[in-house]
């Protein structure tokens, strides 16, 4: 259960937070919601796909980090070596209006973590970086929503089935994922294409399309992980 409180430099003066990426702290997510500002960083490593919110049915964008539940294939003992999405970076923090809030029950709250305030009650560099992150993330969520709604209204979204067979004989089938329909994009009227370009959406669309190339790369990573664990099991 979350216990969320508005951050206060008196009440939370001594709170310390584990900021690094770790499965223990919840970085083990196979699909992380992302904002359009992150697309250039993400596309170099992860497939950027859409899925539906279980509660509203609305599409949202996310980065695929793994295939199985609680699997982030980019996570190791040292953390994440590739770009860490803002939604993971933000750790136990939320925004409430213009304030930063914190989940005091998060496992990240830990006395060996980073302090949030100086002795004088000033935000530390770490907290300042979190505040800066929300300055991107908050408007970014709205902008991403508009982008996805534009894709939807132009009927540019299509389901993508990812069927994978691994060398250990196991199979994975990912459902409920969507990408850009390139054929529908190709037949859009010129005026619409120009409009998409001026809004910066065309670039985002191509980043999404390019990121599909990360699916086999991700599968390769998974295959190696599977082979490693089956080799361990076989005692080799």
């Amino acid at each position: 259960m979350a216990n969320i409180a508005i951050l206060n430099n008196t009440l939370h003066r001594s709170v310390r937070v584990q900021a690094g990426a770790s499965a223990r702290y919840g970085d083990n997510q196979r699909f992380v919601p992302v904002i359009i500002g992150e697309f250039p960083h993400l596309a170099a490593h992860y497939p950027i796909l859409l899925t539906k919110d279980q509660n509203t049915g609305a599409f949202f964008a996310g980065a695929v980090l793994g295939f199985d539940e609680n699997e982030n294939l980019f996570l190791n003992e040292r953390g994440m070596e590739t770009y860490r999405p803002l939604n993971l970076q933000r750790g136990p923090f939320y925004t409430a209006g213009n304030e930063v809030a914190i989940d005091l029950d998060s496992p990240r709250i830990d006395s060996s973590g980073k302090p949030l305030f100086t002795e004088a009650g000033e935000p530390t560099q770490y907290l300042q970086s979190i505040m800066a992150l929300f300055r991107d993330l908050k408007p970014g969520l709205e902008m991403t929503k508009s982008f996805v709604e534009t894709l939807s209204s132009l009927k540019l979204i299509e389901p993508i089935d990812i069927d994978l067979a691994f060398d250990d004989g196991s199979k994975r089938k990912l459902t409920g994922l969507y990408t850009v329909n390139q054929e529908a994009l190709r037949i859009l009227p010129d005026a619409t294409i120009i409009d998409l370009f001026r809004k910066g959406y065309l670039q985002l669309i191509y980043l999404m399309i390019a990121s599909l190339k990360q699916v086999p790369v991700l599968a390769h990573r998974k295959n190696n992980a599977l082979l490693k664990s089956s080799a361990l099991l076989a005692g080799r």
């Binding site: 919110d53 279980q54 509203t56 049915g57 009927k155 389901p159 409920g176 969507y178």
Partner: protein
């Protein structure tokens, strides 16, 4: 030169008229946009619309999708809700716990195997419906047939709609005129002008002068202005088979706006007929369909009020006469009837709107290229429609003939003289073999397939003999489909939301198109 068919004139602005206009205009959109084809709908500014039935068939999903209508809009503008079939309460014995479902999903593996004899051999103390489909259990729990993440018109469990027919016609009208290029003329038709061969050449209207056309679609309701009145086609009563001739309807509010909303029609047998009970988001539509030869209006109203309970206090029922039957022919010369103008049967299986859809589709798909080939298409249309009306009458009668109720209305209904021969023969046959694929329901668009007969027959305790050993060869397959059904039932019960909750979510967030 043979005159080509380019201008379609539909008369009547009710559900039938607008649905027919939408189906025809959507199918011929290419020609409409080129300006070589037109659909005109003439609606009287003075005639009130009879909202036929609030129950529909799953076909409506395909019909609306093809017309380009958004399902989210349908929910938001027509007070629509999900319908997963009907429950028939107290039809067999009249006892409190007597009831069965006619769901919209086919039995598991229906194309592979007939599960009836396997169920008959070992009922496991469970109803036929529950052994072959999850849908009865979904209805019992008031669950929706899909989720908010399921795209428009797609189903997890097959479904149709309950909707406010009074809102549905204007909703389709708007789509037809704004999106599909249907011309809307508000005028009263005074007379049909005829050619020597009997064809209608044009209609004279009071407000809009003369309107010419190549094909005239009569959607004028019970009055049947064109086919009945102008063309003189007679009406064939079928009150010798189906006795109900009156309906008494009420719109009943829910106790609270959050009261559960059934996701099926509840059809309950009474002393001289039956009630429909249809849950819309804002109200329940309830009506008693009865035979005035068997009960007085006063007694019927008292029975209706007893069924509804205190919620009926202060409400006044609306009485609607029913004339069961249909036109002797449906397409004559260049005039074809759709909807009530073609005929009407008691709404026991919500056959009104589905018949409109099927007729409109047949007209749209088989649109004669010119007057020279129209009679061939007309003959085909008449043949199909005679078949359909006949089968629907048989199927409605089936609900009555298996009753063990003792009231005179019910005993009269089981009188062999009132049962059509075809149905009589089938019932005889089905004592020895259960209905399935090889029965003579062989049309491409069968309104009620063999599965529907299975649900009603075995829901009402009909017995078919199973010869010992006959099931041996297919038992393994049957067992696997039955356990698949159990697993599916468990899964759907865990994953599907409540009917009302999903409808509320659709109002709030909408369904995605994909």
């Amino acid at each position: 030169m043979i005159k080509s068919v380019e201008n379609i004139v539909i008369v009547g602005g009710g559900t039938a008229g607008w649905l027919a206009a939408g189906v025809i205009a959507a199918r011929h959109q290419g020609r409409i946009q080129r300006g070589t084809f037109s659909v005109t709908l003439i609606e009287s500014p003075n005639v009130p619309i009879i909202g036929v039935g609030e129950g529909t068939w799953p076909t409506l999903r395909t019909t609306l999708e093809k017309m380009g209508v958004s399902e989210t809009d349908l929910f938001r503008h027509c007070d629509a809700a999900f319908k997963q079939g009907a429950r028939f309460a107290r039809w067999t014995t009249g006892a409190e716990d007597d009831g069965y479902y006619h769901p919209l999903m086919l039995p598991q593996g229906f194309t592979q195997i007939n599960l009836v004899p396997h169920w008959l051999e070992d009922e496991q103390g469970r109803s036929f419906c529950d052994v072959v489909t999850p849908q009865g259990a979904l209805c019992d729990e008031g669950l929706a047939p899909k989720m908010i993440t399921t795209p428009e018109y797609q189903a997890v469990a097959n479904y149709a709609y309950h909707l406010d027919a009074g809102k549905f016609a204007p909703f389709i009208q708007k789509h037809c005129t704004m999106k599909l290029g249907v011309r809307h003329v508000l005028a009263d038709v005074q007379s049909a002008n005829r050619a020597e061969n009997g064809d209608i050449t044009s209609l004279t209207t009071q407000q809009a002068g003369e309107i010419a056309g190549d094909l005239f679609v009569d959607c004028t309701g019970f009055r049947s202005l064109l086919l009945g009145k102008a063309m003189g086609v007679g009406f064939k009563d079928c009150n010798d088979v189906l006795f109900c001739d009156t309906a008494m309807a009420m719109q009943v509010p829910y106790e609270t706006p959050e009261s559960p909303m059934a996701s099926h029609t509840i059809s309950t047998a009474h002393s001289a007929g039956w009630t429909w009970d249809i849950g819309l988001p804002t109200r329940r539509g309830i009506g008693y369909v009865y035979s005035s030869r068997h009960i007085s209006d006063e007694a019927a109203e008292a029975e209706l009020r007893r069924y509804i309970g205190p919620a009926a206090n202060g409400l006044t029922p609306r009485k609607i006469p029913i004339r069961a039957g249909h036109r002797e022919t449906f397409w004559k010369n260049n005039c074809v009837a759709v909807g009530l103008a073609a005929g009407f049967l008691e709404p026991l299986e919500s056959s009104a709107i589905v018949l409109v859809e099927l007729s409109a589709k047949l007209i749209a798909e088989q649109m004669p290229a010119n007057r020279g080939v129209m009679d061939i298409v007309a003959a085909r249309f008449n043949d199909v429609n005679h078949y359909r009306w006949g089968r629907i009458i048989d199927f409605l009668k089936l609900h009555y003939v298996l009753t063990k109720r003792r009231e005179k209305f019910w005993r009269d209904n089981t009188d062999p003289a009132s049962v059509p021969d075809r149905l009589k023969n089938l019932l005889h046959l089905w004592k020895y073999q259960p209905p399935w694929f090889f029965d003579e329901f062989d049309r491409i668009e069968e309104v009620f397939p063999a599965a529907s007969y299975q649900y009603v027959l075995y829901g009402m305790g009909f017995k078919t003999e199973v010869m010992p050993g006959d099931n041996n060869g297919s038992r393994a397959t049957a067992t696997s489909y039955m356990s698949e059904n159990l697993a599916m039932t468990r899964k759907l019960r865990a994953q599907l939301p409540k009917n009302r909750d999903l409808v509320k979510k659709i109002h709030e967030y909408g369904l995605q198109a994909i």
